[in-house]
């Protein structure tokens, strides 16, 4: 009660809040909007760096033979590309969106733990600085794949592996703190009347994601610590000669790794649900089933890890268990796709850039999901495993999946954040070039994979040449078209171009961020909790 009294007096207090000026604003800030912006910019930077690494990979693979880089550097590129994109682009982007949106969506003035929020962001530039610095070390950067299987990543690793381990530790600390913050915020800071089953889906999916993060990031920290011990302190966790087991590494890694996959897609489900509903001008179909489906996916994600390891020689019973549990994931995932399609059905649709990306998400993520179902069939996986078919599969769920959802989210909420509309024509160009580029890049990978091309090779047999050339062209189209996005964001925010956004921005969006706040949102919001019916 007394709190309410204080906040009502706030306007009279001559405490006109605005951000500090200059670099210190960003260093010291505890404002969820500032921190969200920094996360998003870090993600954008990582996306461009990781994209350049993809360019190196695709340029080398444009035709058979070794043209540009030696195999060792090629392996460094595939490794760093994976690490940077997973830990530097996709995850921070979602944390950035969570920072911006969760308080606005639940009617909270800020995140519950603002200083921890600041710290969890500022750890990241150092973590990635350390990781990138390995490229300039003697012996080069990590070259053992983003999955860093022992003993290639222990006894046979370049010296820079130690820096890689510390950098993973720092990222893990950052992620866990971010997740704790999300959970505490959602549990304690909801506006009166905002019950759990009234929470917007983005909040729900992030809540579940945050629990996944807390559960598995320590497992990742554990596995890299075991590596550290093996490398420097003479233990033999992953060395059979000393009584250890290289396969133990894979079990522990994928116990982290599979939930990690869902960490990168669950928030996307939330985003897409909002966008499809808004542009179909129809409430989301099956809100409750969406919540349950997301929860089931999260729970299932803990018992499917060995489907990444069908060929390591696990016993038949284990193989069957992991095949069945993996196939089960198709059920809640299917429910989500059906709900989205039904939301569109008999709607009144328009196709602004966020909606285009959202529709592409549903189509292309479903293709990635279906190839995932194929991969779940263990006997067939013996032929798919570690080929380009797998590369095609996980890029379909991560690029037109996770990444498209992030792009859609930025287009969708940017007018609310900065008060100006992005340029729709540029947005459409960005979408169509990305859509064509992404399919040109990743669809033919299914074919070369089925035809027998292993992943992570710097050079390939001649029968794969034509498709690889197409893939490389597609990759450059896709990569370069992201510059349109960067320009569009720049001109809308710093360039101050584009028409002023209305408070609602879109025709009939639902949610507190649209209905209870002006555009652009002020630096401080919801100092008095809004009314939720």
């Amino acid at each position: 009660m007394s709190q309410e009294g204080v906040s009502q007096e706030m306007p009279h207090d001559d405490h006109h809040h605005g951000p500090d000026k200059g670099i210190l604003r960003w260093l010291y800030t505890t404002n969820h909007k500032d921190i969200g912006t920094m996360y998003l910019l870090l993600a954008l930077g990582s996306l461009l760096i990781g994209g350049c690494m993809a360019f190196v990979i695709r340029a080398e693979l444009f035709e058979p033979g070794l043209q540009l880089v030696d195999p060792n550097f090629f392996n460094q590129m595939t490794t760093m590309h994976g690490l940077i994109m997973v830990f530097g682009a996709i995850m921070p982007a979602f944390v950035g969106l969570a920072n911006w949106l969760i308080p606005l969506m639940i009617g909270a003035p800020d995140m519950a733990l603002p200083r921890i929020n600041n710290w969890s962001f500022w750890l990241l530039p150092f973590a990635f600085g350390m990781l990138l610095s390995t490229l300039f070390m003697e012996g080069g950067a990590p070259n053992f794949g983003w999955t860093f299987y022992a003993p290639l990543s222990t006894d046979y690793a370049p010296p820079s592996v130690t820096f890689f381990i510390f950098s993973v530790h720092i990222m893990g600390i950052s992620s866990v703190m971010g997740a704790v913050n999300v959970i505490v915020t959602i549990f304690n800071m909801r506006a009166p009347g905002m019950t759990f089953m009234k929470m917007p889906l983005f909040v729900w999916t992030w809540l579940i994601t945050a629990f996944l993060l807390i559960a598995v990031m320590p497992v990742l920290a554990g596995v890299v610590t075991m590596m550290l011990m093996d490398i420097h302190f003479g233990t033999s966790f992953f060395n059979a000669a000393g009584g250890g087991d290289p396969v133990l590494f894979q079990h522990v890694f994928w116990f982290f790794g599979h939930p990690e996959v869902y960490i990168m897609i669950l928030p996307a489900f939330g985003i897409i649900s909002h966008i499809i509903s808004t542009f179909s001008r129809k409430p989301l179909f099956g809100y409750t089933s969406m919540v349950f489906a997301t929860s089931s996916i999260a729970i299932l994600s803990f018992i499917v890890w060995a489907h990444h390891m069908f060929t390591v020689g696990i016993p038949l019973a284990g193989e069957l268990f992991f095949m069945y549990s993996t196939m089960l994931i198709a059920v809640p995932t299917g429910v989500k796709v059906f709900n989205w399609v039904t939301t569109m059905f008999r709607g009144s649709m328009t196709f602004e850039t966020p909606m285009l990306f959202a529709i592409a998400f549903v189509v292309l993520f479903t293709i990635g999901g279906l190839s995932g179902l194929m991969l779940a069939i263990a006997p067939a996986d013996f032929q798919y495993h570690d080929t380009y078919f797998v590369v095609a599969h996980f890029h379909y769920v991560l690029v037109p999946g996770a990444l498209f959802s992030i792009l859609a989210a930025v287009y969708y909420w940017l007018p609310k954040w900065c008060g100006r509309m992005y340029n729709e024509t540029l947005g459409k160009w960005h979408f169509w070039l990305s859509f064509i580029g992404v399919n040109l890049t990743f669809f033919p990978m299914h074919f070369v994979g089925l035809a027998g091309m292993p992943r992570r090779i710097p050079d390939y047999a001649l029968q794969f040449a034509d498709f690889n050339a197409i893939v490389s062209v597609g990759a450059f189209v896709f990569g370069l078209s992201q510059l349109i996005f960067v320009y569009n964001i720049w001109r809308t925010t710093l360039g101050n171009k584009g028409e002023k956004a209305t408070d609602l921005v879109w025709e009939k969006p639902t949610g507190l961020e649209w209905t209870a706040l002006p555009s652009p949102v002020p630096y401080h919001t919801f100092q008095e909790p809004p009314k939720v019916d």
Binding site: E138, A240, P246, L320, M349, A378, Q383, P454
Partner: protein, 373 residues
């Protein structure tokens, strides 16, 4: 039917319709040459068609809505947003499809795990970056190394048809015989994959995995390592040569004789040692230490001007024989014959401006090796 389906799909996707062109490009999983590989191919096609059917249904409804339920056509939004019945239907239906799919998959998997009653046992050992095949019931044991010349990889010479998929000595197996593979590794994890046999198993240091195949038709079947194993991962192909049982018997006898002969220690001149040494070096050492001996520091030290190559010859030979613990330098005592080791040591001491002028004789290497035992 299968071919037509696949190429129709790709024709759609790639806006072209030439069927024969795609056949050359390789679009689909091979049917292979074993019963298991046929079963796996069939499973793959069934699940593929199920996925296509689901995709057509889902995307069909979506496309319909996109065309007819758009605002620009004056569509009014309905307001329905819940139906427990519908949710139950689309939870249960996929579940039934999945169960139907799981049954044949389970049967095939049980088949694949039936390692009993093998007539031939072959141990497959992964090395960075070559394969070793040991026929457990015969005196046959050899390494199989990529035979594509470096010039083709470096785009100096024209690439031949089997670029990167050819080896010096293929794994020879009889047809219509159950062959059991026992897979392990000397260093990091590799994975032995031959698509036509539908066999892909990781080779794990310190552990032995099992798999098997009965090959139906004679022929050459090519595969590759499919687990990232370091810089040479793309350069350790597999070639299986399937022959009739009679041919196989002849081959085994010949191999046993040849391999016994190769173990004899001959005297070799300096020039012979250098010539053989260069060959041994390119196939076994150049991937890390580089063709010109410059290495890739600090992981793979340079041999040009190195303290070992220019120091005590005994230490040099021992390094090659025993390798160096805790590094990527493996022990070559079992991998190379004594004359190969003598040749490569001699070569390393006298190539790229190294000018020791001395040489190791095969006899001397054998002496050092025997003393260790």
């Amino acid at each position: 039917m299968t071919r037509v389906g696949i190429s129709a799909l790709s024709a759609l996707l790639l806006l072209t319709s030439s069927h024969s062109a795609f056949a050359e490009w390789g679009l689909n999983m091979t049917e292979g040459v074993t019963r298991i590989s046929h079963e796996v191919h069939d499973l793959h096609m069934i699940i593929f068609y199920i996925c296509v059917a689901i995709a057509v249904a889902v995307f069909g409804v979506m496309l319909y809505s996109i065309i007819y339920h758009r605002k620009s056509r004056g569509a009014e939004a309905a307001n329905f947003h819940e139906s427990t019945t519908v949710e139950i239907i689309w939870t249960v239906t996929p579940l039934i499809i999945l169960i139907a799919m799981a049954i044949p998959a389970t049967n095939t998997l049980i088949d694949m795990y039936d390692n009993k009653d093998a007539e031939i046992d072959v141990q497959i050992t992964g090395y960075q970056w070559k394969w070793r095949y040991t026929y457990l019931n015969e005196d046959v044991d050899f390494f199989s190394v990529l035979s594509t010349p470096q010039d083709q990889i470096d785009n100096i010479a024209e690439k031949n048809e089997n670029y990167l998929l050819e080896v010096d000595k293929p794994l020879v197996l009889p047809i219509n015989t159950k062959v059991r593979f026992l897979l392990t590794s000397k260093d990091v994890i590799h994975s032995w994959w031959v698509p036509e046999l539908a066999v892909k198993k990781d080779t794990i240091p310190g552990f032995i995995n099992e798999s098997w195949a009965i090959i139906d038709e004679p022929g050459l079947y090519r595969g590759q390592c499919t687990e990232l194993c370091g810089a040479g991962h793309g350069y350790m192909p597999i070639v299986v040569k399937a022959v009739s049982k009679e041919e196989y018997k002849i081959w085994v006898t010949q191999q046993a004789i040849e391999q016994a002969a190769a173990k004899e220690v001959k005297d070799m001149s300096f020039d012979e040692l250098m010539a053989q040494g260069e060959k041994v070096y390119s196939t076994n050492c150049a991937a890390c230490h580089k063709q010109d001996g410059s290495g890739m520091t600090p992981m793979f030290p340079a041999l040009k001007g190195s303290a070992i190559a220019l120091g005590d010859i005994d230490k040099h030979i021992e390094m090659v024989l025993d390798g160096k613990q805790g590094t990527a330098m493996s022990a070559f005592a079992e991998q190379l014959s004594v004359s190969d080791i003598a040749a490569v040591v001699t070569y390393e001491r006298n190539a790229w401006g190294n000018d020791k002028g001395d040489s190791a004789s095969p006899k001397y290497v054998k002496e050092l090796k025997d003393n260790k035992k």
